[in-house]
Amino acid sequence: MKGLDGRSKRGKLSAVFSRREWVPFGLLLATLIVSASLSESFRDLAYLLRTTTRYMELGMTALTMTLIVSAGMIDLSVPATMCCSATVAALAFHAGLPMEAAIPLGLLTGLACGAVNGLLIAYLNLPSMIVTIGTMSVFRGISQIFIGDKSLGKFPEWFNSIEKIPVFMIGKARFGVTILAFILLAFAFYLVLHKTGFGRKVLAVGANEQAAIFSSVNTRRVKLQLFLLSGFVSGIAGLLTMSRLLLVRYDMNLNSEIDVVAMVLLGGAEISGGNGSIIGTFIAVLLVIVLKTGLIVANVTSDAQMFMMGLILLLSIIIPNIGKLVQGFRDR
């Protein structure tokens, strides 16, 4: 779908219209219209921007996950890494370090978690899914050991509620720091994946690892770098979550790994690797936000929300492939 099929030769405009990202975009528009018509409370920019912030943290990790999925792997330990980094930063602060020093420590922890995953997956050739299922318990277990049944909070005033610092205001609606950070990060990752040599290497590893090795790509290094990146961004996201919640607990973001994967897949990344789109993931993050917020504010219970989420996931993949599906039905 990336201009390799015949249609793109017909011209740039046609290429733009044949992009995969139209599907999440269409669904986004549809859910926006539905949500707005369902509930009056949804039609409030201030509220939308406020609730959006919460998902932006997971959205950031969905960006790195897009890269990892494009390289044919998966990282289920992301929420656990977020939790672990936040824990270490909080512990360091409570051990007497200034917050300014605790934050880099938290980020380093994220990197370390990524390094563990990366080394196991890249250099020992272990399958990423099972490794990260294992490390997910390890990382969260570390914070459980240190925090136990308590929560660590009472951070300095400047660290609390960073997401509430406005970049600019639209009337009463606050465009906060976290939203800006997510957008900037998305832009950076767009450049990385689609415009740099590293991005091409990532896609090459995902498309065909053997071929990538033969064309002198150091696939192990690429994989390690990806997981380091994932760990680092998870660290940032974890610290932002901690700042929003004013504290850290060992069950921070429990069970949300599936949400991150869903965002990436909704965005059109192919799970088998070799194809991924940051724009798609960006739109998918917005889609998930609108869907969840819209349904919750319309008092739809979480069971029906789950049902809708599943339906949307299936639709997002069925719609773009209707033509292919008919064809696929015929061949092997």
Partner: protein, 343 residues
């Protein structure tokens, strides 16, 4: 091909509209008192029971005067309740009743809600250490009595001597940990229980699988075990199940806090001699009356009293709590059938 796709998207949009239309509740009408009840998680029979109390009170006071919304996350996790509180505020709720999954993770959210003029009431538990972030708390019983009551019940069932263990929920469940501390205190200070030893506290995470494994391990680890206290509904059901299937009812006595409907079979066949709980529907019933009173100008200050229909007068205590009952109730073979039909 392109037309196909546009058609498909339109189709999807249509499907969404119909689906949402089917599941969405009717939007608000003016003049009604809008009450939100956010449980720890959905699909939890305990909160279903509590919710029935809300419905009873509303049926009594007039269906057309209230809008009652029972919604919450699918899994009990601390931060997953935040968006539901925010949505309730956005929908101009008159009162939010919440069984919080954490003592302090929702503080910021509660503050925002109260700044927006929506009162926050904890229900079924309080948030020790964060009381300043809520308006009042409706408690099932005086929690400080639970430790004593549970130990006494256990003692009666095992004859005031022998080894026993506690099967709790998660390691970070605030109310559980308070009760366990109280139980330990009673054990250490009361002469009557000097022959009883608490061998271990284990955690079943309120999951059937984990609770079962921990219970089985307790039996294996302590051959002389005479009793288990499980102050959590999932835990006590799992513990009774293990004892029942292994035919150990005579040897190991299980008690704790459970739901009559879940415990009926174990009480009827003698696996469990008796367990305790309060009356969850009372809390919901009380909540509706509280919200109505507040809407009519009542201030939730310590010492203030309000009337709650058939339950009588209630006073707000010094710490902002309202006790729906004072002591936990005992459920056994004499009354289990009656209550199992209710909750």
């Amino acid at each position: 091909m392109k037309r196909n796709r546009i058609l498909a998207i339109a189709l999807a949009a249509l499907m969404l509209v119909t689906c949402c239309g089917l599941v969405a509740t009717v939007s608000a009408e003016e003049g009604k008192i809008k009450i939100y009840f956010i449980p720890k998680n959905l699909g939890n029979p305990y909160f279903e029971a509590l919710s029935s109390g809300f419905k009873d009170a509303i049926a009594e006071l007039g269906e057309d005067k209230y809008e009652y919304i029972f919604t919450g996350p699918a899994t009990a996790e601390a931060t997953s309740q935040i968006e539901y509180v925010e949505a309730a505020v956005q929908n101009d709720a008159d009162a939010i009743f919440i069984a919080a999954n954490s003592n302090d993770a929702l503080n910021g959210t509660f503050d925002d809600a109260r700044d927006a003029g929506v009162p926050i009431y904890l229900i079924n538990q309080d948030i020790p250490g964060s009381e300043s972030h809520r308006d009042a708390a409706i408690m099932p019983v005086d929690f400080s009595t639970i430790g004593k009551a549970q130990i006494k019940l256990m003692a009666e069932q095992i004859g005031y001597e022998g080894e026993f263990a506690i099967l709790s929920a998660t390691t970070d469940a605030p109310d559980q940990n308070t009760w366990i501390e109280l139980m330990k205190e009673v054990l250490a200070n009361d002469e009557a229980y000097s022959k009883m030893t608490l061998v271990e506290v284990v955690y079943g995470d309120d999951q059937p699988e984990k609770s079962t494994i921990e219970m089985e391990a307790l039996i294996t680890k302590y051959p002389n075990l005479k009793g288990v206290i499980a102050p959590t509904t999932v835990g006590i059901a799992a513990a009774c199940k293990v004892v029942q299937t292994r035919g150990l009812a005579e040897k190991i006595r299980v008690t704790g806090l459970g739901l009559p409907s879940e415990m009926k079979e174990f009480v009827m066949d003698g696996t469990c001699l008796g367990f305790q709980l309060w009356n969850p529907p009372y809390e919901g019933y009380l909540a509706v009356y509280l919200a109505t009173a507040v809407k009519g100008g009542f201030k939730t200050e310590p010492g203030a009293t309000f009337s709650a229909g058939k339950l009588g007068e209630y006073t707000i205590l010094e710490n902002g709590q309202i006790l729906s009952l004072v002591d936990p109730m005992l459920y056994d073979i004499t009354n289990i059938e009656e209550y199992a039909a209710l909750f």
